[in-house]
Point group: D2
Chain length 330, copies 4
């Protein structure tokens, strides 16, 4: 099949690459000509602007936009909507807010266009391992592009079969038609929310292991533990076996103290939107929220909330916090 | 009445002072002779050792130990247990672990002594405002010492009567016979756990008010709020009116940025024991725990858990956290 | 002064009542004629529609809308905006979302009108104790209505002076000009968020006190505690002294088991918006969020998240959850 | 090699089975003769009491106790300590508290015996997949029993090699010598703590997916999502790929509503001990704690904390909670 790709960053470029390797034809555009030239050497047709991209595709066209969520994506989708013809498909494969997917779907349908919102997981490993795709949109459009999706996902052999599973065969390949527009990005949002929770579970557990030699413990109870060995052992036969554990063991094998990291952690829109979706629909989500807040707190240099606590403690107890981080006491 | 006091720090010294002012007789001892001399000038009888203290008291004696929880308290109680006579009362007024109160009560009863574990709240304000006392022990012993307690507490006028309240008149004075040994310190422990939760609620709320001018908000939604004015206004007629709010407003009136504090916050045994009691009795206590963890996190300079998160993010996404605290992104 | 009031429910009606008692003139309207008739008997001028309300007020007018947040408030404000003249003031005193206040302020200013968003705390006690008011809008407009606000708030004597406080005298009366439009409802939102956290701190602490007789504890450590006595005692001299504690002690005095309540707890917009504001501005707010989630969980009859856990436990361990709530084990 | 096994429940029995299949000799005892007879048919030597077990083993002996943590394990270890000879090894493979391992190690060393505390993960799948073992004790003793451990673990092929890993080859087989006595059960405890956090992350995420069709959302934003399909798709190429996800997808494939579960979830000692270890060593562990509390709350039929909230709400606002679980409001 033929696919147009707008945005040739790490994600967009590697999606094109994986499609080319599977024998699909790709027309590729990026504001920066360099990545297009690189992909042209691998068999893509690089074009100079969106008009050329649309002209190079045979109808019914499929154009995948892989740009930063927000203004860049919105602008590209609107421009393309003006260039495409009824029956064509526009895809937003970025990390967009799911309600934008709902809105964009309605807007594009009113113009006779089709829209898919696709959550894409896989990061730097997608080219090699395949991507996990969560798709929102019309069933017929998903069916039309099945060959593209089949080329992008890891494939059935990437995991053992689930006993007793029946129904849509797509999920066993590594992608899901999650529902109408919005469902793809909603599902990806929750995926990332879960990811935050799992990551923080490992982070806290390893922090407890690291503090097993704490001076707060009686001397005969202090343990000095080898986290690289422990996480490596857990990879086989334990309940916490997971890809995140594999990556953690790998990081600890190379740098047992993780000294190369500051401990200040970024967060992305999906983690925040997950909490907001939970609040909006009255779902209790303490773990997903705590995971997000741990990241906020890791970057909180102002420490105003801590200052409020210290001011109160001074007020009622005359406690003056020591200038350096205090040990536990009164 | 006559009371012996062991430990003349801020709490013990002021308790003696408040008793003296109410006309009670106090025999006072501290390893350091200075505070005893000061109290002698105010009417106390300062003694040089525990033997002298016991000798100076008429049976049945009452000796209040006001020392740091743990070894100091344990040693003083054991020594005094060897000096006192059957029918005498030993009091632990410090911040002891409640299970120590259970154990000590049984131990001392076996020697014919009586034991009270008393949780004491009031801090630096107790001398002037009176102390809140939570008492564990035998009813008859509490009754015997009622005149002492009545002199220490704020008294009935310190709060409006609770409509419909009947039963023991002690709580309306500001103290409670909470139950058998252990109950006094258990109650004080939970009091402090609640205190942690309330403090953190204010800290988070004020932090959100402070961030109302965040650049994460659209320019026309940014608000610069005066926290000193807001907390002052809340002191009258609002649902959050409280002594902690009074102290917060006071701190903000003097230093709106709370620049005199580091933001690193200590914690005490009671906050930790409260969480452990919740876990031991299967009570869900997310707020009290989160309040404790916020203090732990405020002192966490190693940031190992954050490093684990960053290492995982690099592993799956190639994200390299910036050396400085990052703003929210990808 | 003269004020128009739209919405004569418990809050609106009592605000009118308190203003009448202070000598102000009120023109009152409600879709339901009954409350207006009742207020007319107390000195208000009841009118039959918004046109009559506007006609009955002398310019520059001030009209306070006290209706449920959302459609009812929006409709009344828009209708009044069409009836009022430049220089008039429209007030939204309900529990509106703060961003609506920002938007409405800009909209009304474009029509030459003034707008105040006022967060109002005080509930059923406001008539007697006075209301706590948090006001967003132009300084000049706040100044114009100062006599109204001064009549509504509890007044300076309702709390002891804050040592060292200087600046705007309004907060010492019980109201605050928090900032431009949006600031009033933002401040009220955070007030309620803090309220949720404080309430949950008490709820968890009392639950731990209640479980002090848990069978999970060794028999000699089980304590049966009198929560009515304990909360009453804490009202004097303790760090957790607060209006919420007063109300808690009162409820426990009348019904120590609180048997009249189901344990299913509602939540309001403000608690949710507070969490969303924290997430939007990257403030770590674990306590305020946990308090909200505890309410969600209290109403969660579907228990789907628990079912997921049990399904996983069965999957890896063959654990089959007992049909009744299990005690802690395996 | 030869191993004695005390306790032939699901875990102990299958460990014997796996050892027999690997060619090791097992002497097996259980109070109930049935499982020993079954294992005898598979090649084990079943004995009638602990004396016979010790007599049947050639020194230096190794005896693995696989009994419920607490009294049963303590009694068996003490009895065996009286029967074994210097140089013999006693193993506690159950879910014991790690501080018991520290204590028992010192006690047994004083008698000339060796002790290993082994945390064992693998559940019902261990016989087939192999067990993950976390071992505390002396290095020489671990080395002596390496053939036993190598037969129990999944083996190197069970996971892809970790790039750059060096050091002890045991973890790549699936077991780790974590440190001295206590370290095995400490590591297993934290493993389970992480497991709780990961499980709750999935539970919350799936609950949010399930509520994507909530009436709290505008009609055009409601999504009906197929959780079985989504979790199946995530198993390939996504960041949350894990054994727990495999099990979740499997459960949802068979019962998409998980109607076979009550939603009341048990918890085990390890989850609680993890929180207590975090508190004891001042590690912020909000996610691991929230996961534990969600289980507590799922079983909380008394709902006392909710009743406290409702009583407060009635007190300040006159809110009377509806008899049935209310929707969000006021």
């Amino acid at each position: 099949m033929q696919l147009g790709m707008v945005g040739l960053g790490r994600m967009g470029g590697n999606i094109v690459r994986r499609l080319l390797r599977a024998g699909h034809a790709c027309v590729a555009f990026d504001r920066d000509p360099a990545p297009g030239q690189a992909l042209a050497a691998e068999g893509a047709q690089a074009v100079a602007d969106l008009e050329a991209l649309v002209a190079a595709l045979a109808p019914p066209r499929a154009v995948w936009v892989m740009l930063p969520a927000g203004e860049a994506t919105e602008a590209a989708l609107l421009t393309l909507a003006g260039l495409l013809a009824p029956g064509d498909v526009l895809i937003d494969g970025g990390n967009s807010f799911w309600k934008d997917g709902v809105r964009r779907g309605a807007l594009l349908r009113a113009k006779g266009l089709h829209f898919l919102d696709i959550g894409t997981s896989g990061g730097v490993w997608g080219l090699e391992r395949g991507y996990s795709l969560m798709i929102g949109g019309e069933a017929e459009v998903v069916r039309r592009l099945d060959p593209i999706f089949a080329a992008l996902v890891p494939g059935k052999a990437a995991a053992a079969p689930t006993p007793g599973r029946t129904g849509d065969p797509r999920p066993e390949q590594g992608y899901v038609h999650a529902g109408p527009n919005g469902a793809g990005h909603f599902t990806k949002m929750v995926h990332n929310g879960i990811e935050y929770g799992m990551m923080q579970a490992f982070a806290e557990g390893l922090d407890i292991l690291k503090h097993a030699d704490s001076e707060a413990l009686p001397p005969d109870q202090r343990l000095s533990l080898n986290l690289a060995d422990i996480t490596e052992a857990w990879r086989r036969g334990s309940v916490v076996a997971s890809w995140l554990l594999d990556l953690t063991a790998q990081a600890l094998a190379g740098d047992p103290e993780l000294a190369g990291f500051s401990g200040h952690v970024s967060d992305s829109g999906e983690g925040r939107w997950t909490v907001q979706a939970a609040v909006e629909t009255a779902v209790s989500a303490p773990v997903l929220s705590a995971a997000l807040y741990a990241r906020f707190a890791s970057r909180d240099e102002a420490r105003f909330s801590g200052k409020v606590l210290s001011a109160q403690r001074k007020g009622f107890g005359g406690h003056l916090e020591p200038p350096k981080p205090p040990e536990a006491k009164g």
